[in-house]
């Protein structure tokens, strides 16, 4: 009997092990996601972008590698040391990847939010001449993301940043923007980050929200 228990226990353990065991895809993704979040230089971001490109080549049905690949290019497009032509080159690459991801997983709040983030980065590459044509598009895209899931912390914090810009321009006070930032920060605190990471879902944006909430005080 004792033996049987041990065998059963061992079997169970084994099964658990098999379940918990990451596929090469998950392993590679987790490693690269950790890297892209830490990346703070252009070469590192390009390495990340390349790594995700390699992963998506092998996993043509997964939207996450495309998503992170686009994210790595979006961060490049926000790098102040680049000329606006180089920023556009990176953001055009990001845009193409987001569109591919969207084709694989339509109406995905994360992908729509990233789409808005890419347009926001394009706007900030040349605000004087693009502000008029792109700010409406950015707001509309984040609006669409929030209509899919109004509790997405990334959509909330990016929308909060746009609202803050608008409020500053029209002198209408930061209440709305700060409210969104607070909402976003609270969701970040409440969420189970480890579970999201295990499911290779996006978790970035927490520090953005914390920073903005601090500025609001």
């Amino acid at each position: 009997m004792k033996k049987l228990t041990i065998i059963l226990a061992l079997l169970f353990l084994n099964v658990c092990f098999a379940i918990a065991q990451d596929s090469p895809y998950q392993k590679a993704m987790k490693k690269e996601i950790a890297k892209v979040i830490e990346a703070d230089s252009l070469p590192e971001l390009q390495q990340s972008a390349n790594a995700f490109a390699r992963i998506s080549e092998l996993n043509l049905k997964e939207w996450q590698p495309l998503y992170y690949n686009a994210l790595a290019y979006t961060y490049q497009g926000l790098n102040a040391t680049l000329t606006s032509d180089k920023k556009d080159e990176a953001l055009d690459a990001a845009d193409a990847l987001v569109k591919k991801a969207d084709a694989l997983s339509p109406n995905n709040v994360e992908i729509v939010t990233l789409q808005g983030f890419v347009i926001m980065a394009k706007l900030s590459a040349d605000p004087a001449s693009r502000g008029q044509s792109l700010s409406g598009q950015v707001m509309q895209t984040f609006g669409r993301a929030l209509s899919i899931d109004n509790k997405n912390p990334r959509a909330l914090i990016l929308m909060a940043q746009m609202e803050a810009g608008m409020a500053k321009f029209f002198g209408t006070g930061p209440e709305k923007a700060c409210g969104l930032a607070k909402q976003s920060a609270d969701i970040f605190v409440a969420q189970d980050e480890e579970a999201l990471k295990a499911a290779i879902l996006p978790t970035w944006g927490k520090s953005l929200a914390e920073q903005m909430v601090k500025n609001c005080k």
Binding site: P24, A28, L42, P43, Q46, Q47, A49, N50, A51, A53, R54, I55, E57, L58, D85, D88, E89, A90, D92, A93, K99, K100, D102, A103, D126, A128, S129, R130, Q132, S133, S135, G136, Q137, M139, Q140, G143, M166, F169, F170, G171
Partner: protein, 724 residues
């Protein structure tokens, strides 16, 4: 135990020795290092990125025949077969650049584009609506660009010594007949279409593609918006009238309907007018547009269909003094005009698989003018049907070929109902065009085209070649050259008198330098244009006799454009200067003369300044030319005289009190200058032998405008700045 350990060690060693190290260097074809290239062993997770010097190294456990793929932004991907056997592999690769349409050289000779996406543009679409002095008229905004001349008593587009009929206007690739409102002579008109319909425009002042024909001087292609962003209602209340527009947006489709009414009577009763209006101009218009999208560009096939219909009516009654008329004649000639106009088009574009792209559509314009000149009624009806189908095939990223077929039906009739006289014609024109585009590299592009046409009425077939080439220098600047032959059948009022008239002709040569760098744009262009087979006749323009096509002439010159968004903080300005030297024998002139619509020196300055503290955009524009030539019959020779200098300074102020509300105030000719565009002379000399004259002047000293624009939508940030 010992044996076990040893065998384990051996096993590890054998695994280690099975690893293959792949290293190397990635460069471009000039040997410059490419950092950040993605080096992958295909079908595996193994790979790395090249470093700042283009070097890379990684190890793999794979064995046997493998493929290494090397990719970098802006370069063609290269694949190399290797054998992994534990021996180090070293690869030296030089990647070939790929054609990047966003940053590659473009042909800028003759062309001025307003576009949000491309680089080599002189304007953004928003500039068309925010240019001070343009008062929301597309043409007026384009008149601040090089190569154009402001003709204040006409209002249409005059390009490089060409008359207004020499410009063809297209909406979504389909020609628009009577794009400008009907008006009495010497009363300026404006474009019938609102600038907020369009997402961009392509304005060519010469040397344009084989896709455009029947225009001697210029082509203006306007592209309508794709899918609007949101459901919204736009209300406008203006000193001249008001309107409402409603937009409904679905996932893949959209509907927009709008209506406007304008009446200048209240304004003209408050502000003194030089023109003698019996009934001030008034108009109504309504339009509807539908868009439907299909497919997903990421998954291959996708397309777009747009339908647009615009209809309007307008009227005016004006008294025009007759030069040399005796005091008893009082107000002069009474001109009453009633106009009805409709334009509709359906356009389609579809991207298929294997590099195929199709577009085309059908458009219909109908214009009816009822003039009553004193007691004589005149009826004119102009109709245009344009059908077009184009197929483009990209054979490679470098080479594409465009083939198009067009069919035009043009008809015109004019009648004097009292005299029971009527004349008319209908002309069928069939055109084919073919155009090949070849990128030798990102720096060098060549385009060659051939346009063939046949007119049933003129019974003439013609072939016109077009060619252009552009080369981009190291410093981002680029040179382009364009040349081509252009044909155009005479204006309908002449053609209806003699229907066997054949094509007039022009040949263009254009050399252009263009550079955009760091928010500054500079453009210089010189041109030479030869005119042939122009219509000449005897007698007065109203009653031409002995019509022949013996006219000829030329236009040559140089123009400059400089735009700067950087040097003065918060200010965006541009400066234009155009020199045109043009002479032609045409109409009833006996010799080659400088036409009245081709002033020699033309200039403009446009500036926009955003004041955040006032939530306002301030704008100003100044346009200037050296004077219009005119013919004084009291002097020897023809067109021997010139008016004084033309100058107009306009100011505008847009105030955004709330994100969805705009107040716009504008005033043209704030300095109150009395501009004269020419003189009208009596047809007969008076008893002293002198031809009496009257100046052709402005309708009023200044024109002031105030408007309130409100956008209603869920998105509070939306506004209708595009309506200004």
């Amino acid at each position: 135990m010992k044996t076990y350990l040893i065998s384990l060690l051996l096993l590890i060693a054998s695994i280690a020795s099975a690893q293959t190290t792949i290293s190397g260097k990635v460069t471009d074809q000039k040997g410059e290092a490419i950092p950040g290239a993605n080096v992958t062993l295909k079908g595996t997770y193994d790979g790395t990125s090249s470093d700042a010097d283009g070097n890379f190294a990684f190890a793999t456990d794979e064995t046997g025949l493998q493929v290494v793929s090397i990719q970098a932004l802006g370069f063609k991907t290269q694949e190399i077969s290797i054998t992994c056997s534990g021996q180090p592999v070293n690869l030296k690769t030089a990647l070939a650049e790929s054609i990047n349409l966003l940053t590659a050289v473009t042909i800028t000779a003759g062309a001025m584009e307003a576009n949000d996406e491309k680089k080599s543009v002189v304007l953004k679409p928003i500039d068309i609506v925010t240019t001070s002095g343009a008062m929301g008229d597309i043409t007026a905004a384009l008149l601040t660009l090089p190569g154009t001349s402001t003709v204040g008593n006409d209002g249409r587009l005059f390009v490089r010594g060409g008359d207004a009929s020499e410009t063809a206007i297209y909406i979504d690739g389909l020609q628009v007949g009577n794009a400008f409102g009907s008006t009495a002579s010497n009363v300026p008109t404006r474009t019938r279409f609102s600038p907020n319909l369009f997402k961009g425009s392509f304005f060519s002042t010469g040397g344009y593609s084989a896709e455009y024909g029947q225009a001697l001087s210029s082509a203006l292609a306007l592209n309508t918006l794709d899918l609007p962003l949101r459901n919204q209602g736009d209300i406008s209340v203006m000193s001249l009238g008001g309107g409402y527009s409603q937009t409904l947006v679905g996932k893949q489709n959209a509907l927009n309907a709008s209506g406007n009414y304008y009446n200048l009577a209240p304004y003209q009763s408050l502000v003194k007018q030089n023109f003698d209006w019996e009934k001030s101009p008034s108009s109504w218009d309504s339009e509807i547009s539908l868009r439907q999208k299909w497919g997903n560009a990421e998954k291959g096939r996708s397309g777009f269909i747009k339908a647009y219909f615009h209809t309007e009516g307008n009227g005016m009654t004006i008294w025009q003094k007759v030069p040399g008329g005796s005091a008893g004649d009082g107000r002069g000639d009474r001109v009453q005009l009633n106009n009805r106009y409709s334009y509709g088009n359906i356009s389609l574009k579809h991207s298929g698989n294997k590099g195929w792209f199709f577009y085309g559509g059908m458009a219909f314009s109908h214009n009816r003018d009822k003039f009553n000149i004193n007691l004589d009624p005149i009826r004119q009806i102009n109709q245009l049907v344009h059908t077009k189908a184009v197929a483009v095939k990209d054979f490679s990223p470098q080479f594409s070929l465009k083939n198009g077929l067009e069919w035009y039906v043009k008809s015109y009739s004019e009648a004097l109902p009292n005299a029971n006289l009527k004349r008319r014609y209908t002309d069928h024109q069939v055109n084919h065009f073919i155009e090949a585009t070849y990128y030798f590299s990102n720096r060098l592009i060549m385009v060659g085209g051939l346009r063939t046409g046949h007119s049933s009425l003129a019974n003439q077939t013609w072939v016109t070649p077009r060619f252009s080439v552009a080369y981009k220098l190291e410093n981002q600047g680029q040179f382009s050259f364009a040349a081509g032959k252009f044909k155009q059948l005479p204006e309908e009022k002449i053609r209806v008198l003699q229907t066997d008239l054949r094509n007039t002709a022009a040949t263009h040569y254009i050399l252009n330098y263009f550079i955009v760098s760091n928010n500054r744009t500079f453009r210089a262009e010189s041109f030479y244009k030869i005119y042939d087979n122009l219509v000449t006749y005897k007698g007065l323009p109203a009653n031409p006799k002995n019509i022949t096509q013996n006219g000829a002439g030329f236009a040559r010159g140089i123009d400059f454009f400089y735009r700067d968004k950087k040097t003065i903080g918060g200010t965006d300005f541009w400066i234009t200067y155009s020199f045109v030297d043009s002479k032609r024998r045409f109409a009833n002139y006996e010799t080659k003369v400088q036409p009245s619509f081709a002033p020699k020196h033309n200039g403009s300055v446009v500036a926009k300044y955003f004041v955040s503290a006032l939530k306002s955009q301030l704008g100003t524009s100044w346009s200037w030319n050296s004077g219009y030539p005119f013919n004084n019959p009291n002097l020897a020779d023809e067109m021997q005289s010139k008016t004084k200098v033309y100058s107009d300074l306009s100011l505008s102020w847009s105030y955004l009190p709330k994100p969805n509300v705009i107040v716009h105030v504008a005033c043209s000719n704030v300095l109150g200058r009395s501009n004269v565009f020419g003189y009208r002379y009596a047809s007969q000399p008076d008893e002293t032998g002198t031809f009496q004259s009257l100046p052709i002047s402005q309708g009023a000293k200044r024109f002031a405008f105030i408007g309130l624009f409100i956008t209603l939508s869920k998105d509070k940030a939306a506004n209708n700045l595009n309506n200004l």
